[in-house]
């Protein structure tokens, strides 16, 4: 298939153009605030790639991002919009913290998986209501998940009230947090494993096993979607629901399980921070991964492997923003804006490309039969 190779190339070109567009728009902003883009961008790249602490920070930042991207992408693959990743990971993190500090006396081999499982189940639970209401009552998942996000935010605040999950030992201090999670539930860091293969990373880094776990999950779901029967069903449902139904695939069942899987992965998003950085859940817990996850899924065109790359790219920009702020004195928000513009450019670019490819395929299909010239001429532009 020569044309499919050409389309893949076009897709890569669209991605490149979108990044270029973002960089150019970013340049305009930089020039407007008296910064030289030819100085700022190289500085950003050097800051990111020439320092081991930057590289480690990028991978640490990418850990929750790739999980959030994977969660969103999974739902997208079954034509479902999971805006609820944000809320799902709040409840996932609280549930994991709860199991982490209450269940005592277990060895790490049991306690840690149990803690992670609590996060996954809580995420699934938070995804359950929107998908049930969608499939049974026709309630659009976009709005219900947005509402569930707000409810999750309030629930988390409520659970941190005194007498519930708030650490009594912190009474009298302004700290609003749970007690410390027991060591047996904390995720081990990657230092010793990396040392074993000859990589020494700064001791201050909190890079942990959620990174390889997250990447493994992305690879796993790539494989599931490509090779498993379930993956085939998901693709069939997304591509043509009525044809899938006719072939005996239950759209409802596929959408239900995919959305729960999405919620389960979302439940993992906050755990790298909870179980390897803070060691407790508090009121200033990092927020917004869910929305970044949407951007990442879009950049990756919902391909689980692409999600890893897209998460690293966003993390790269985030880290670069810090370098730009410290060493060039330009506000890091320039890079946030640049991120937004790249995503906008990429969604428009992909859309135009998809339409172009569809038109090309139609033309090729029309060229194929013997009466091609006449048909192609009438088929142009119409229908």
């Amino acid at each position: 298939m020569r044309s499919s190779a050409r389309f893949a190339l076009l897709q890569a070109a669209a991605l490149g153009l979108a990044i270029l567009f973002g960089a150019l728009a970013g340049s305009v902003i930089l020039l407007a605030i008296d910064q030289n883009p030819l100085y700022v961008y190289p500085l950003m790249v050097r800051f990111n790639l020439a320092r081991i602490d930057s590289i480690v920070a990028i991978f640490y930042r990418a850990t929750p991002l790739l999980l959030a991207g994977l969660a969103t992408a999974l739902a997208f693959r079954a034509n479902l919009f999971n805006i609820g990743v944000e809320g799902q990971y709040y409840v996932g993190a609280v549930a994991a913290a709860f199991v982490g500090f209450t269940v005592a006396g277990l060895p790490r081999l049991v306690h840690l998986p149990l803690t992670i499982l609590a996060g996954v189940l809580a995420g699934m639970l938070w995804a359950l209501l929107p998908i049930v209401l969608k499939l049974r009552r026709g309630a659009h998942e976009v709005i219900t998940t947005i509402m569930m996000n707000a409810i999750a935010g309030a629930l988390v605040l409520y659970l941190l009230e005194p007498g519930l999950l708030r650490d009594p030992a912190q009474a009298g201090t302004p700290r609003v947090r749970t007690p410390d999670i027991l060591p047996s539930a904390l995720m081990p860091l990657l230092h010793s494993a990396l040392r074993a293969i000859g990589l020494e990373i700064p001791s201050s880094s909190r890079l942990n096993w959620f990174l390889p776990l997250g990447i493994a999950l992305c690879v796993f779901f790539y494989w599931v979607l490509r090779r498993w029967r379930f993956g085939f069903e998901v693709r069939a449902v997304a591509h043509n629901p009525s044809a899938a139904e006719a072939a005996g695939i239950s759209t409802q069942r596929v959408q239900f399980y995919t959305f729960l899987l999405s919620g389960g992965v979302a439940g993992l998003v906050g755990l790298s921070d909870t179980l390897a950085f803070f060691g407790y859940f508090d009121i200033d817990f990092p927020k917004g991964y869910g929305f970044l996850g949407i951007s990442i899924a879009l950049l990756a065109k919902n391909n689980p492997l692409g999600v890893v790359a897209a998460a690293l790219f966003i993390a790269f920009l985030d880290r670069g923003a810090q370098g730009v702020q410290v060493f060039a004195g330009a506000p890091r928000e320039v890079i946030t804006i640049l991120q937004g513009l790249i995503i906008l450019a990429i969604v428009v670019g992909y859309e135009l490309l998809t339409r172009y490819i569809r038109a090309q395929r139609k033309r090729e299909a029309q060229v194929a039969p013997p009466l091609a010239p006449a048909l192609a001429a009438t088929g142009e532009g119409g229908e």
Binding site: L133, M147, Y158, I294, P331, I343, L344
Partner: protein, 323 residues
């Protein structure tokens, strides 16, 4: 008994009205956008732009013309409100371009606009005011007494010393209801949201109508943000919209995609909001009350309260060429 008195106290009701207005303006905008068939999740971002530009422009106008400010103190906030509206329109134009012209998924565009607006507000605040999260304090509109209504004894606390934006917003809702129900523009907008192909066949310019719906929603979301920053906050504070753009979507759904319905829903949500700020001495945790609007919206969407009747072509990009 004490509780009952608190529930209807003038202070609580006045606060409820103040909290209703931003939700109401944005919800009215959402009605216009979705009646034309375009879902606008970007309302929150447009509101954020409204809060920032409203405060910033009010501040700069007041500073640049101190003489004028002494004579006509309402000029600066007025220009600020217009700027907030203008910036809402600008972002709505972006949303319209992406979703109507390029036919990209409306949710995706909205989510991205929200991210962009949040980053932009921080950036601009740093450029203008050297800090990321807060603008200098500003002076809002001179408070007014609403004529005639302020003579009614019981109503006095609610209609004296209020922001002029409050009656203006109510009037806008009434106009909006009339426009959608009775005018040619309103009928065409609704036709485009219900069945764009049929409207197109009858000669209605689908693309233009949809642009109008989205731009109106941007203007109103900008106004909502402007009101928050100029009248309520007396300055911009990062995150001051507190997800009200999303609550506005909820109010629109709750109000069944009609301006008057959105008014009722916004009033209810505003009341919950005001109430949640005052239940410190109750046994109910305030978080339960803050989530009541969200729970109510889920129930409505699920058809447990009554059937939600959204425009049939809401959220679906329209193109002549395909199908």
């Amino acid at each position: 008994m004490d509780l009952l008195l608190t529930l209807v106290s003038a202070a609580l009701l006045a606060s409820a009205i103040r909290l209703t207005i931003p939700i109401l303006l944005a919800a009215l905008g959402a009605v216009f956008s979705e009646r034309g068939g375009v879902v606008n999740i970007g309302l929150e971002g447009m509101m954020i732009m409204g809060t920032f530009w409203g405060a910033a422009v009010t501040h700069f106008v007041a500073q640049a013309f101190p003489g004028v400010a002494a004579v006509a103190p309402d000029l600066a906030p007025l220009v600020g409100m217009l700027a907030a509206m203008g910036m809402g329109i600008l972002f709505a134009l972006l949303h319209a371009l992406i979703t109507i012209t390029f036919r990209v998924d409306q949710i995706i565009s909205g989510v991205t606009i929200n991210l962009l607006a949040a980053g932009l507000a921080r950036f601009l605040n740093i450029i203008f005011f050297r800090v990321a999260t807060q603008s200098p304090g500003i002076r809002g509109f001179t408070a007014i007494d609403i004529p005639l209504l302020d003579r009614i004894p019981g109503l006095a606390p609610l209609v004296t010393g209020t922001s002029p934006v409050i009656p203006a917003a109510i009037i806008l809702v009434l106009i909006g209801q009339w426009v959608l129900r009775r005018t040619r523009f309103g009928l065409r907008l609704r036709a485009v949201g219900e069945h764009p192909l049929a409207a197109d066949t009858l000669g209605v310019n689908v693309v233009m109508m949809r642009y109008m719906g989205v731009l109106i929603s941007g203007a109103l979301a900008g106004l909502a943000g402007g009101y928050l920053a100029i009248e309520q906050g007396r300055g911009y504070l990062e995150g001051m919209t507190q997800g009200r753009g999303f609550i506005a979507l909820a109010a629109m759904i709750f109000g069944n995609w009609w301006p008057l319905g959105a008014l009722g829903a916004s009033a209810l949500f505003g009341y919950f909001d005001a109430f949640s700020l005052r239940v410190v001495n109750l046994r109910v945790p305030y978080q339960f009350i803050t989530v009541l609007p969200h729970i109510a919206t889920i129930l409505v969407l699920a058809g447990f309260v009554r059937r939600a009747q959204m425009p049939a072509a809401d959220g679906i990009p329209y193109s002549k060429e395909e199908e």
